[in-house]
């Protein structure tokens, strides 16, 4: 390392240290810097983009971060990312276990806390059966942690009541991929952004929620001026700033627009007839039993005029969007996230985006792909792929499938028939069972359902019910969930432990441990193993090292569509992200699935460019999905639509970002964001307080008047624990994915 480089690093680290340590109340460290910084390779703690970074450590403390130039983010980090050191030393870091006594949480030893947890779980299992307990995990937990819980509950305790918060954010995308292609996870990759000519961004405020990917889109637009960006969003968000076409519509009506776009593609002969003939089947409901003619007749109903009438947008904009999407000389990439997923017809909405790609054959080519963006750093790798949901087993296997259970039982070395064939309860049903007393003990890990569940007051009552037992493992206290718990366990945070994150593009990355856990905190992996031993299931989790856990996971993936058996821990340590499938140790990884020559699971002798091997007929399905309104539409009393979302400065329930002092002063308070037309109608000024009420609950917010919201639409963000949008959101779920409809509900608004 050159002298100048070392001096630079010292200076950088000292600068970041100021941010980090001011918050911790420590004195300025700049003068104390010895100049020796150890840089530990890791991944950002926040969104599902999975940006590579290095953690700068001095004297056992996280002093700085810097982007990893060799990773997909090419050294770039966003605001939240570069302020990460501050989350480590926040004053509300939970440093020791706590047990509720006489209504108050009091400090306890690890042994007292874990003894109590084990005793209450044992008592419930013995008295009421294994299904009287449950686990609610997280797309933020490391893969090894989610896997440990999965094995403990499904193989040890004997219940499939194991869920995770990806049910609230990704479940519809999963079911969309599954129903269309037969396998979950996107077939494309981030590199497709560099080749796309048309970006179709629907239900995603990429600029704020995935800023590094947005930067990559901006870079592509800048390098390729003919690039078209189409944004479909009821709100005019910062993402729309780069849009060549922004289509605003009434919330919950975009399915009509997507079907009308398909209609235009067919009408204007922008389809790829050869691709359709070779690679596509047609279906309705759950059956693949329709024909091309059936499909054409179906979408013929959705003229641009009719869709415009349903959705409140302009017919000519639908036509323009379809023409750009279908341009035969253009590569088209779709990007979406919660706007499509958090809907009672979220799976159908996902199917309709896939339909557009299949109709035009714009799939599996550089720049042409439907890429679902992910909200959490390990929702894909840990929970979706790892099968840490109530109906799944690792790597695409299903609880309800005899063969799949047998495969897993063999690898887990447990007697055949150990895993219950009955799928467990999906998230909302799990919390309803907690409400009804059917589930009596619940273990929550690395997530904050006391703020993040829809219709949250209903489930907060269940979580605070004296008859129930709630244990929460978190790195922070209080949160809106730990405040309700019987036992709170201090969990090690991010840089304090080792494990794997798997992000949006099937990219798996190893996060190395950089510092020791705060106070008495322990990695969730170790807490779960302690619980397993106390419940008599220590044999299931007696791995000698994390490498051994990883080897077990690789073995589980072998021979599946997720095959990453070539991704050894030794290979991951120096790597900057590896993309599966990767079926052997010399395989470089796969940028584009289903493509001959790229995807090792497509046989070299396969006669076509694409093989959708996820389905028995090797064809993807174009689904006939009619427009359906959201669960709740506006009426005379509840006359505003309410939609929820995220902003640039904060993340999820704000437990980490509020620890960053300057972020706490930036868009932290959740406001009722309304259009000037509505403000005038109700005589509201910026800063006035309003009460937003739905049929379920109410919350007070200050008013922000903004051009982002359209008339009739109120937007509130989800990050603020003191002004919780989820008091009003609806807990109706998609019948296929079981994902709730956070994005649309009907409310009334009055000045208070």
């Amino acid at each position: 390392m050159s002298v100048s480089r070392r001096r630079f690093l010292e200076l950088s680290a000292a600068a970041s240290a100021l941010f980090a340590l001011n918050e911790a109340g420590a004195s300025t460290f700049a003068g104390q810097m010895s100049g020796k910084i150890d840089w530990v390779k890791s991944v950002c703690r926040y969104c599902g983009t999975g940006c590579g970074l290095y953690i700068g450590v001095e004297n056992g403390k996280v002093m700085a971060v810097k982007g990893d130039t060799d990773n997909h983010n090419k050294g770039l980090l966003c605001l939240k990312g570069f302020l990460l050191p501050q989350i480590m030393y926040a004053s509300d870091r939970l440093r020791y276990p706590m047990i509720r006594k006489n209504g108050k949480l009091e400090r306890a030893t690890w042994d007292e806390a874990m003894s109590l947890v084990a005793a209450r779980f044992k008592e419930s299992i013995e008295k009421y059966g294994a299904d009287s307990v449950g686990f609610y995990g997280s797309g933020q937990a490391l893969t090894e942690e989610s896997y440990c819980a999965n094995k403990l509950f499904k193989a040890g305790i004997g219940t499939n009541n194991l869920e995770g918060n990806p049910r609230l954010c990704m479940a519809s995308a999963v079911a969309g991929y599954l129903t269309t292609y037969g396998k979950d996870e996107p077939m494309g990759c981030y590199e497709d952004i560099d080749h796309a000519d048309v970006f179709f961004i629907i239900g995603s405020n990429t600029a704020e929620a995935h800023p590094i990917l947005f930067e990559r889109i901006v870079k592509r637009q800048s390098a390729n001026p003919v690039t078209k960006v189409i944004v479909l969003d009821p709100r005019r968000t910062p993402t729309s700033r780069i849009a060549n076409l922004h289509i605003s519509f009434t919330p919950g009506t975009d399915m009509a627009i997507l079907n009308a776009m398909a209609n235009v593609l067919i009408h204007e002969k922008l389809i790829d007839a050869d691709f359709l003939k070779t690679h596509v089947a047609f279906g309705e409901g759950a059956e693949v039993n329709k024909t091309w003619d059936d499909y054409k007749a179906f979408v013929a109903q959705y003229t641009p005029d009719k869709a415009a009438q349903i959705s409140g947008c302009r017919a000519e904009d639908i036509v323009r969007a379809a023409r750009w999407f279908g341009d035969k000389n253009a590569a088209t990439m779709s990007l979406w996230t919660m706007g499509l997923n958090q809907r009672t017809k979220g799976v159908w909405a996902n199917n309709l985006v896939h339909n557009l790609h299949l109709l035009t054959g714009k799939i599996g080519k550089p720049g042409s792909t439907p890429l679902s963006l992910t909200g959490q750093p390990n929702a894909c790798g840990g929970v979706r792929d790892g099968g840490a949901l109530s109906h799944l087993l690792p790597y695409g296997r299903l609880i309800a499938n005899d063969k799949h259970r047998a495969e897993v039982e063999k690898i887990w070395n447990i007697p055949p028939g150990t895993i219950s064939p009955k799928p467990g309860l999906a998230t909302i049903d799990l919390f309803r069972a907690f409400e009804e007393g059917k589930v009596k003990a619940l273990y929550v890990m690395c997530t904050n359902p006391g703020q993040s569940l829809p219709n949250v007051d209903r489930y907060r009552k269940a979580m605070s019910n004296d008859d129930n037992f709630l244990v929460v493992a978190d790195s922070y206290h209080p949160t809106r969930t730990t405040e309700l718990a019987n036992v709170v366990l201090p969990a090690a945070l991010w840089a304090e432990k080792e494990g794997v994150y798997g992000c949006t593009e099937r990219r798996y990355q190893l996060l190395q441990k950089a510092v020791e856990p705060a106070g008495e905190a322990r990695p969730d992996f170790e807490i779960l193993r302690d619980l397993a031993r106390r419940l008599g299931h220590g044999n299931l989790v007696d791995w000698k090292s994390l490498d051994e856990v990883w080897d077990e996971l690789r073995a589980l993936s072998k021979g599946t569509a997720y095959d990453f058996s070539g991704m050894t821990r030794d290979r991951m340590r120096p790597a900057h992200g590896l993309l599966w499938p990767m079926p052997n140790e010399s395989h470089p990884g796969t940028k584009r699935r289903y493509v001959k020559g790229e995807d090792p699971l497509v046989a070299p002798e396969w006669p076509q460019r694409i093989q959708f091997y996820g389905r028995p007929d090797n064809k993807a399905v174009v689904w006939l999905r009619p427009h359906k309104p959201p669960e709740e539409v506006v009426d005379a009393e509840y006359n505003y639509y309410c939609t929820t979302g995220r902003n640039l400065e904060h993340w999820h329930t704000g437990t980490m970002t509020k620890s960053c002092k300057e972020l706490r002063h930036a868009n932290y308070e959740s406001m009722a964001e309304i259009n000037a037309v509505d403000a005038q109608k109700l005589g509201l000024k910026p800063g006035d307080t309003v009460q937003i009420a739905s049929r379920r609950g109410k919350e007070k917010f200050r008013v922000k008047v903004t051009e982002f919201s359209k008339p009739g639409l109120i937007y509130v963000h989800m990050h603020d624990p003191d002004h919780m949008c989820n008091r009003v959101t609806i807990d109706a779920v998609d019948s296929i994915s079981k994902q709730p409809e956070y994005k649309v509900c009907a409310v009334k608004m009055e000045k208070v």
């Binding site: 690093l9 570069f82 870079k219 002063h665 930036a666």
Partner: protein, 125 residues
């Protein structure tokens, strides 16, 4: 808090550097800092959705009137590292603004083209 080019009604001379009285939820930086907001509006930061806050911190005592090296380094550590290594004679604190204008981010002189060695995102102008 994003920049806006709305006309100012409040003389910025009256606004102290720490901005303690600003309601960041309601006021935009550009309400007072019109010229800077217009410059920002032409920048890659504007198209990339990087608001004032990222460089200048939040209001109150976190406000940074003149962002120093660490703010650029936060997002662009790799570029800066490469620049410091490649240009040892450029003072470290000026490593970005020797060439870039602060708000438009455009190059100060036309002949300063693609100077960043070995960089990825962020090198396009």
């Amino acid at each position: 808090m994003v920049a806006s080019s709305k006309e100012s009604t409040d003389p910025k001379a009256a606004t102290p550097a720490t901005h303690p009285q600003i309601d960041a939820a309601q006021q935009k930086c550009g309400d007072c800092h019109d010229a800077e907001a217009k410059q920002w509006d032409q920048s890659r930061h504007a198209t990339g959705g990087v608001p004032c806050l990222v460089c200048h911190g939040a209001v109150d005592d976190n406000f940074i009137p003149k962002p120093a090296l660490q703010r650029c380094q936060g997002c662009h550590a790799a570029i800066m590292e490469a620049m410091v290594t490649a240009k040892p004679n450029v003072p470290k604190v000026n490593v970005c603004f020797t060439c870039h204008q602060p708000h438009t981010l455009k190059l100060k002189r036309a002949n300063l083209k693609r100077p960043h060695p070995n960089v990825g995102i962020g090198d396009t102008q």
